[in-house]
Amino acid sequence: MNVADKKRLLREMLFARRFEERCYEAYVERKIGGFLHLYPGQEACCHGVLEAARPGQDYVITGYRDHVHAIKCGADPKEVMAELYAKETGSSKGRGGSMHIFAAEHHFMGGYALVGGPFPLAAGMAKAIKMKGGDEIAICFLGDAANNQGTFHESLNMAKLWELPVLYVCENNLYGIGTRIDRSTAVIDQYKRVSGYNIPSAQEDGQDIEKVFAAAKKAVDHVRSGKGPYFLELMTYRYRGHSMSDSNAYRSKKEERMWSERDPIILLRDRLIKAGEISKDDYKAMDTEILDSIENEVIAFAESSPEPRVEELEKYVLAENDPWVYGGGR
């Protein structure tokens, strides 16, 4: 990772942070409905891993905390915001919402709202890649709490049994909704749980993007070289509650302060400042520019876009004009 990469990643992570914070405001203003799960605090996980992969080519899937993963894969932030605003120009044409961002042309295959649901879907995408003979890999990002679903174990077993090219990334933010990991999970270190399936795994600091990148590089290389699945656990923290309807009362101020001192953006920023690569003013200017672009481009696009037409309520339920429905005729 060279200096230019680091500067770009700093910008991408700051953009992700400001994007999510703006979502929060829009939600409070009731411009965004439904459930909203925000990503601040965890930015180095998504950006570090995908920087080591091939975003746009590798197939990526995740849970409902999905905006930032979609954008890093190549989704247009304007379309992601328009989706949150439930507009026809949204990435899922206003039919999906925050938990179901898709950008299939960039191989971001979606956000799913059943905890643990993407585990087997990722293994299936890896199976398809293997059958077609490509050198892409499937990458599945989920939280630590998803590992208590049956799909975790079923999918790891099949992924290893069939040596599928899939990387499972566990963003361990220590809480499953409002329950702390030690109150829900017998084994705290998630990377140890996959040893029963003979899958190589590692645990890394999820706040330091350079460490995430190095660990992910190793993981991605393993999977892409045809050696089968890999499991990477990243220790991280989300600053906000599980979703907007979560009061966040279950965590201590001390714990929150401890993690905010290891903020992934600040860590990288200070490192770059210390190395003389950027100045404080550069950073401020970048922040201002990002805030302006979110307001003037992203929000403006979402605000001014039309809603879906009620006449098209049933569009996308089934394939349109599929001849095989009529026995191949018509």
Binding site: G124, W162, Y326
Partner: protein
């Protein structure tokens, strides 16, 4: 036109589609080396190999999800769930992922896979191996549900389902795999929507599907021979979507309807067909529609109790005679 068994018809459809398209695969428990519980995939493992004829672990939700994920990227999986009772475990992936992904992605991603499963009551398999789940599947938007009543349909429905771009659930029956019937020698694609008039009649319409279609046909014969009643029999091979126009057309002709289902009555095919009749052609009716359904009990093990729990042709005859006062 050759006469072959229901399982042979399904096997032939698999074989032809796998031969044609290298992205068609099949997955399920015991379907490969063992050849399949119902022989529906017999010999395919030897012909196409382990990468395409996949013996899965006993992880119904997991391997159904794997099939769905593969289908996102253009693979066409045909998944056999050994018994419909195990399909309850796969409902999360089938309903939450396969049925909804096209809609919630605004048409970007679809799950063109086929799930086949054997349902129904067989011989004393007890409460956890005798489920009739079609009514659950047919209530989920985004999923097509078909159910073959003979080898021709078993062959042609699977052929169309593999090529269709929607997820299709095929409801088969434990007791029907050895049924013989004529199947066209050339390729045949059965429509995934609509209904078939299995017997023309004028006095009453008997609606059946899958195994209950045969109870209807038997009952129609008895009604004609012994009671002078000319029953029309309609085969609802497509349960989702149901054939509204076909249902209305036959009721406009006979003015009476009896719906026969192997499942418990609540929120079932009978209830749904009655609702369609009410909505489409209520004033054509000469009598209130009736459903002949299973008793609302977990399936008992005892043979006599089991027989009493599910309807048969005699129950259909009795229902029609009561309706017509004959």
């Amino acid at each position: 036109m050759a006469e072959i068994m229901y399982w042979e018809a399904i096997r032939r459809a698999h074989d032809e589609e796998m031969e044609r398209d290298p992205l068609v695969i099949c997955m399920g428990e015991d379907i490969g080396v063992a050849g399949g519980t119902y022989k529906a995939t017999k010999g395919l493992y030897e012909k196409y190999g382990a990468e395409r004829v996949i013996d899965t672990p006993i992880s119904e939700n997991g391997y159904t999800g794997v099939g769905i994920g593969a289908s996102f990227l253009g693979v066409r999986p045909i998944i056999e769930i050994m018994s419909v009772n195990f399909a309850w475990l796969a409902m999360d992936q089938l309903f939450n992922s396969a049925a909804k992904v096209r809609y919630m992605s605004g048409g970007q991603v679809s799950a063109p896979l086929v799930v086949r499963s054997a349902g129904g009551t067989a011989h004393q398999l007890g409460a956890q191996h005798s489920a009739r789940m079609e009514k659950v599947f047919m209530g989920i938007a985004g999923l097509r549900v078909v159910t073959p009543s003979n080898p021709r349909q078993a062959y042609g429905l699977l052929k169309s389902a593999v090529r269709c771009n929607d997820p299709v659930y095929i409801n088969e029956h434990e007791l029907m795999y050895n049924m013989k019937g004529e199947v066209p020698d050339g390729e045949y694609f059965h429509p995934l929507e609509g209904s078939e008039v299995a017997r023309e009649g004028s006095d009453v319409t008997l609606f059946g599907y899958n195994i209950s279609l045969h109870w209807c046909l038997q009952a129609a014969q008895t009604l004609a021979q012994e009671h002078g009643i000319n029953a029309e029999v309609v085969d609802l091979y497509a349960l989702a979507p149901l054939d509204r126009a076909g249902i209305a057309a036959t009721v406009r002709k006979t003015h009476r309807a009896v719906i026969v289902e192997e499942a418990e009555p609540a929120v079932g095919v009978g209830a749904e067909v009655m609702a369609i009749i009410n909505e489409e052609c209520f004033f054509e009716l000469d009598a209130a529609p009736v459903r002949v359904s299973a008793a609302n009990v977990p399936m008992p093990y005892n043979h006599k109790l089991e027989k009493a729990a599910i309807p048969n042709a005699a129950d259909v005859v009795a229902a029609v005679r009561k309706m017509l006062g004959k």
